[in-house]
């Protein structure tokens, strides 16, 4: 009887000695803190990646676009979205290396020429991740006359969270995004139908 009691108590005393030698609490706090921070960063990154482009109904924050040297808008080489309050803004992201952009370049220019006399619609071209000599060749090739400039530092495209080019954003007279077109337009009528809807 006594033997049994003694043999039972011996391993317990060993376990207790191991338990006392744990990792200090402050290290545990740091490790858990780092782990939680890492998870939060990963979560925020994933959420941003899954967000997609800005959505219709979103108020678009103000941004500025420095135009290519041959371009200007009402005498200014820099345009701001806030300058166009009361007008419909058609913002097109493009690049000279983008083949689908070429499909819609002529249609965009033709639509711009249609609306330009009214003064109620503004077309803006933001050249995404491009090199200037090739961009100029592209603009000349398609005879594009509406305001165009490089998206410096990809700030505008990051603001719109674009997924590629071409993408076109239709912003109403109050600076609210109303329509997003991912990919090239198939016809002038397609662009006009969207713009006319916003002019009404």
């Amino acid at each position: 009887m006594t033997e049994t009691t003694n043999t039972d108590t011996a391993p317990e005393s060993r376990d207790t000695s191991v338990g006392k030698r744990g990792v200090p609490v402050w290290i545990q706090i740091i490790v858990w803190g780092l782990l939680v921070t890492l998870l939060v960063v990963v979560f925020l990154g994933l959420r941003r990646a899954q967000q997609g482009t800005v959505q219709p109904g979103d108020k678009i924050p103000d941004f500025s676009l420095n135009l290519f040297s041959d371009y200007e808008y009402q005498g200014s080489s820099e345009v701001k979205l806030s300058d166009f309050r009361g007008k419909v803004v058609v913002l097109n992201f493009w690049a000279s290396w983008c083949k689908p952009c070429e499909q819609e370049a002529a249609e965009l220019q033709e639509t711009w020429e249609f609306y330009e006399p009214s003064g109620a619609v503004v077309f803006l071209g933001a050249d995404y991740v491009d090199t200037e000599p090739e961009a100029r060749v592209y603009l000349k090739k398609f005879g594009i006359t509406y305001a165009n400039g490089p998206d410096m530092g990809t700030k505008i495209s990051q603001m719109f969270r674009i997924k590629g080019v071409p993408e076109t954003y239709f912003i109403d007279k109050n600076g609210v995004l109303q329509f997003v077109k991912v990919g090239p337009f198939s016809s002038v009528e397609e662009i006009k139908s969207i713009v006319d809807g916003l002019l009404e």
């Binding site: 006594t2 033997e3 003694n6 108590t9 011996a10 005393s13 060993r14 000695s17 191991v18 030698r21 744990g22 990792v23 290290i27 740091i30 490790v31 780092l34 690049a95 000279s96 290396w97 991740v129 491009d130 090199t131 000599p133 090739e134 490089p150 410096m152 530092g153 990809t154 700030k155 990051q158 590629g164």
Partner: protein, 169 residues
Amino acid sequence: MSRCFLRITHYVALALVFALILASLLYRPAFAQGPTPSDDEVNAIAKQLYCPVCENTPLDVCPTEACRQWRELIRSQLADGWTEAQIKQYFVDNYGARVLAEPPRTGLNWMVYLLPPAIILLGAFILFRALRAWTKPTMASAGPGESEAKPIQQDDYVARLEEELKKRK
């Protein structure tokens, strides 16, 4: 007179040979530098850049048209005498800091450089502590010949055992 003339001719010949050797050593053919920078020179800079269009593909090996244009731009900038730092700064100004393979050592970017070694050091410390904790209890369960190292509880246990054995005798 003729002896003196021969000596002078000898010296002149030696000087000419020496001049030719020196010239051949110093001479660098014009075509070695080349009118336009080589692919290697372009790629030395291109591999430090990433095009935002092709994520996770360095510029020097990216096959897209956009990246080809970037490489040609680097080539023309090198031909114009731009330095590596100037070219990288141009790309940062035009396309953002995210084009750099190595983020600039400013602000929150420091986390990229400091966190990994800090985590490795912390992990090594924890592993060291854990290993020490695992090895110490084995000393307690050592054989009877190492009685000096035994904990007090086990000595009591042996003492009781011996006491019980004495009683049975």
